[in-house]
Every structure is written in C-alpha cells, then in structure tokens.
Symmetry: C2
Subunit: 421 residues, 2 copies
Amino acid sequence: MPVHSKRGETLSHSPIRVLMPYARAAKAAGTHVYHLNIGQPDIQTPPEALEAIRNNKETIIPYGPSEGLPGLRERVANYYQSFAGDIAYSDVFVTTGASEAILFALFSCCDEFDEVIIPEPFYANYLGFGHTSSIRIVPIPSSIDTEFQLPNAEKFEELITPNTKAIFLCNPGNPTGCLYSKEELTKLMQIVLKYDLFLIVDEVYREFCYDEVFTSVLSFREMDQHVIVIDSISKVFSSCGARVGFLVTRNKEIQKVVEKYAQLRLCPPYYGQKLAEVCYDHADEYIPQARAEYIRRRKVLYDSLRQIEGVQCYLPKAAFYNMTKLPVKDANDFCKWLLTDFTYEGSTVMLAPGSGFYQHKAYGLDQVRIAYILNEHDLSAAVECLKIALDQYNNRNGHEGNNYFLSEKSPNRVYAPTNDM
Amino acid sequence: MPVHSKRGETLSHSPIRVLMPYARAAKAAGTHVYHLNIGQPDIQTPPEALEAIRNNKETIIPYGPSEGLPGLRERVANYYQSFAGDIAYSDVFVTTGASEAILFALFSCCDEFDEVIIPEPFYANYLGFGHTSSIRIVPIPSSIDTEFQLPNAEKFEELITPNTKAIFLCNPGNPTGCLYSKEELTKLMQIVLKYDLFLIVDEVYREFCYDEVFTSVLSFREMDQHVIVIDSISKVFSSCGARVGFLVTRNKEIQKVVEKYAQLRLCPPYYGQKLAEVCYDHADEYIPQARAEYIRRRKVLYDSLRQIEGVQCYLPKAAFYNMTKLPVKDANDFCKWLLTDFTYEGSTVMLAPGSGFYQHKAYGLDQVRIAYILNEHDLSAAVECLKIALDQYNNRNGHEGNNYFLSEKSPNRVYAPTNDM
C-alpha cells in the first residue's frame, strides 16, 4: 500500500474542529450545545443579497474571470476609498475566501524556508497555510496581561533574519479581539521600510471595532509596495459559506504573480460573488446594525464572564472574540470534558482551547477563545453554563488539579502553578 | 521595494488564457470571436438545479462541513455505484472545483521533489499544480499518430525511479479526446501494483464517451488503496462557475490527510453544492441529452476539419476536445495572428496553442486544441473561418514560412520541416 506524504502527516488538525466528534456525540445524546467555539455568526446574511440570488436569471453558470467579477471588484475598490485611500479596480483580486487569499499572498511573497513573523496567539489556520506554502512562521509573543497589544517594534527587529520576508498581522485580531492603533502601526511601518519586508494584514474584522477608529495598513501610502491586505465577506456579511474573499495590493509585481495563481484555479465561485456584489450595495445600512448587535453581545459576555471566580478576561476592542484565562490547568481537557461529561439543564458549552492559537504549544494552556456569536439570551445562558461547569470540573472527586491560587494583584486573575508560560 | 517570490516568477501563465488580452482587443474593435479555445460548454445548466437555487430559503449562508454537505456526498456516492462499484459516503470529499481536488491529491500523496508520471500532452494547469506542490512532473509522450493512446506499460516502467510516487492520468483526455480502454488500464495496473504507486485519475469527462464504454480506475478493486479519482460538476453539468469538484478514494490513510487539507480551507462553496445536489438528482435525464449534443458537434467538427488541406485530425472518442495538427510552423504565432490580424466576415477564431499542453516546449508547436463547445451552426462557421485564415496566413506577403510539404502517406497530413519533434 503506498504511503501518504510526510507533509500530509505533519500538517496539524484544526484545533477548533478537533472537538467536533465529541460535540456530535453530545448532540446525538440529546444535549444542547452552545457553540462559542467557532466564528460563525448567527446574524442574517443581507436579505437583499439573498433575494438577488433568488432572482438570478442565468441559464448557464460559466467560468468567470480569474481575478473575479468586474462588478464585484469595482464595488470593493469603491468601498475601500473611505479607509484606505485610492484603490483601483485592478488592485482587488477576488479569492475563494480569505483562506485562498492568504495562500496566494504567501506563495507570491515567499519562497520555501522564508520566514514570516506573526504575533501570537494567532488564527490557528495560519500555521496550516505556512505549512502548505513551506514557509517558516516565527511567532512573536503578545500577552493577555496587556490585552494582546502589538509587541514593540524592537521585539520584531530582534527576530528579523536574512530569511525574513514578511510580517503578518491580523487586525482586528482573531482570537484576541485586539485592535492595533495607528501609533502602533506607524512604529511597525518603520521596521517594514527599514528591512524592506512585505506586510500582510488580515483585516476581515475591520468593520467590528467598538471603541476606537480602525486604521488600515493601506492608508500608509509610504508602504504601497509593501502592503497586502486579506479580506472576506464571511464575517462582515455573515456569509461564511459563500467562500468569497479578497487580496488587495497596490504592488503591481505582486499583482502579476497573484494573477498567475488565480488563473491556475480558474475562478472564484459565481454565486458567492453575485451575493457579495449586493452585500456591498447595502453595506451602509447593514454593517452598523450588525456592529450594534455585537456591542450588545460583548457587554453581556464581558459582564457575565467577570463574575466567574478565577476567570481573567478583558473587554475586547474589536472582532467578536476574546481570549479568556480559565481556572483550569489544561483547557484542552476541560473543553473535551464539557462535551463528554457535563450538562446543565440539558445543555453544555463548546469552546476553542487557547493553546491551538499558539505555535509554542505550552502557551495558552489555561486559555480559551470565546466567540460572542450567539444572541444575548443564549450568550447569557452559555456563560451561566460555563460557570457551573468550572465549579463542577474543579471539584470532581479525585481531581488532581484544584491547586490554584488567586493572584494578589487581581481577585479575578489566577495562575496555574506550572512552568507553562 | 520587496521582491516577489522566485516560485511566483517561475510559475507559468495559463497558455489558454495568455491570448485573452488579444481577444479582448479584437472584440473591442468589433470583431466576433468564436471561442474554440476554452472548455466552457454553452449547454444550459440543469434548469431544475438553477430553480432550486432560486427557491433557496436560507437566511444565513454559514460554513458547511469541510468534507462537503452530507446530501451531496451521499448523492455522489450513489452515482458512482454503476461504474465504480461500492463507494461509501465517507470516500467522497467535496472540493472547490477539480483544481482543488488535484492539489489535495498531490499534497496528500507526494512530498517535495517526488515524481509523478503524466502522459503528455496534458491539461496545462497540471504543470501549475505540480509547481505549487513542489513535485516533479515527468511527462511520458503520446502521439497524435496513435490518437494519443496510453503509452505501453513498459514505457512507464522506464521512467520509474525511487522518487516516483504516482502516475497521473486524465481519462477521458483533455486536450486529446482520447479514451483509455479497460485493457490499457489493466496493463497499467500491473505497474501501479508492482511499484506500489498512487494512481490519480482525472475523470471529469467520463460522461462524454461516444463510441466505447468508459472504465473507471475505481472499478479495479485490487487498486483500492492506490486509486484517487478527481471529479467535477463543471463540464458534465455545464456548471464551471459553481466551483464544485470531488476527490474520491477508498484509501483511509489518504482520507485522513485530505480531511486536514479540507479543514484548513474551512469548506467548499455552499450555493455550488446545493446546485450540485439537484444536478445529480436529474443526471439520468440530463446527461444523455448533453452527450447527444456533443456527438452532433463532434461530427460537424471532424467532417469540416478534414476538408481543410494540410490539417491532420482524428475522430475523438470522448470529452469535447481534439488536438489538431495545422499546416503552420508555430501555432502560438498563428493563434495570436488570428486575433490581431485577421477577420472573415467580421469574425475570427480563438484556439488554444498545442505547445501549452506539453512540458517539452518544442513539442506540439504545430498543434492546437479545439474544443467543440459551440452549437453546430457556430462550429461550422468557426471552422470555415479557420480554413480561410490558414490560407491567408500561409500566403502572406514576405511570409518566411510556406515551406510545408504534404506527406506521401496521407494527403491531409503535413510536416513542418523543423527539428521540433
């Protein structure tokens, strides 16, 4: 029997999806599962966009242009004017989700063994995209104690080697809910220009900033040749299954290379693009409503989480995630236990274990990512469920853990007595 | 300014799409272009499938399962029973077009620098997929003189090295229209088993066989652990823009690896999958009609092509392509000239230069791939246009070519006096 590839063997499973079999089993056993583990919004897709698909009169669904439908590229270019400055139609490539845009960016900018610096914790699939493109991801730690703010420019500089080709950010941050300020990005720009690096920024959550103004790296015109932005309709228009993303850059040489990768896979999905066109037509009405909804949910989540003893959390500035430190030794075990051994009033909670968002596998063991993508009522019930679960988990008979102590600095902050971080 | 990757530089442009700017310019100048260059059928997508999308009542377009929607995987598994034997639901992975299925197969089976043997001429993008996955494509020549039949098993054996990991076929063939027989595949199976190789077969044209019965490699149960089939709804259901393909294998170890690559890109497009479900529900009525239409077109193309002096062609057994030898030295130049310098009654023809389908760049210089994807009337007019064009091209003032001679063996066969093949 022929043997699969070594790279296929070493590619990691998605840490978010690894618990899915347990969730399926829990549901099969009749347990209701509150999904706080995945960035799948429950907000409706813009109804006008859905209606446009219902009214579609095409009799053939043909290949479209590799770069995307002209009508969509134009709308996206227009939409970018307000926060990015002048963006041409030809600066926008439609991709099959942000996933494909990230792969195109890595393949176009980097060769095998090139290094890309990424603040950690980061969206777990970045590791997989790095693996697929044979680049080396160099994590730069950020901490829950500073609410995951961007590491100092000097910290980046320390990690730069002759093999460093790019810095990769997610802003606003998944899994952190962090928003990088104009000042932080300006300092980083000096490094990018000094070392002549690419700056690839995943901005898919840009419309969900709740307290401060979002700054796009595309607005730093000194970096026109360095910046590549990753975007998607998945989160902003609650259209994850449409598989429509974007790669935006003003660098013409990169455009020529991206065009080749785009031609290779022929075209992005037709229906998703038609949906996206109408989404952008209605962005001005739709997005503020979605944003207001997430602000309400953020408050519910934050207010209820901080009532739980031993939990360390913060008010996330953006996106719809936060990283939360739980009074457990190993959140992987706790998250699995929630699905296999716990119910409260017929329900349980599914969370994404924090260590999956770190390359340093010993980091984040006591953290979870919580996505506030449920309505306020369900979110409240889910956190109540989590509270009961933590209590039960830490008071199990014969439980070897429970050796936690409260920090003197903060009554809500606990440290596991391990050498993990 | 940071410099793009070397691999991005060395990735080839799609030879099929490289003429597109000239076609756009011709159209802008008012010329009608008959597209015989691209495998985009003009046959209608199954109307019931389009109607199902119009009746879709979903209010959110969410992520689906990474492996594809259960309803679609079940339908595809059922559809496979008749020609492949028993296929389980879990043997079918839905992908974003056949393109993604090919990449998944190469990444899952092969490591960097592994070798994959492919009969040439082959679908040009295989080169790009090989480039992206850092494997080495080893072409094995097949000839227009034998209508591109499968090279002898011994010829494959000669090319096998310790680095050979797989044999890759396209059956029925793009660009050749060739159909590999059960006998040919049985002989190849001996090699596959003897050297314990993977056998990856792109079967997207399997429903378009016109004279003989199609044999799927999945029906050779001795090769259950070796075979991976690539499939797609694009051609068979005239749904190229839906971006729905499949990877089918009974090898559980490969399934585990494919699952990881599938999770990495989250899921295939939702609407395309819903369309595909209904396509398979209506396959029994739809496919025979489409097949009959291509049989009529094949006759029109073949009958009219063989009337042109100096043209060598054959009656293709399957798919909707044939490779045709033209009385020109360099079909790249001729195909460009058709778009930039020629019109006949306001029209011209776009063809795919044959050399783009060969890795050996000196091969196929006098060949073109012709796709018979236009209706009979247009196809007739297009070939008439081609005939006039060849005459004009070869009688241009100061034309350096024209030094062709007819072979004594066949009045319709010409050889360019070059050392190219």
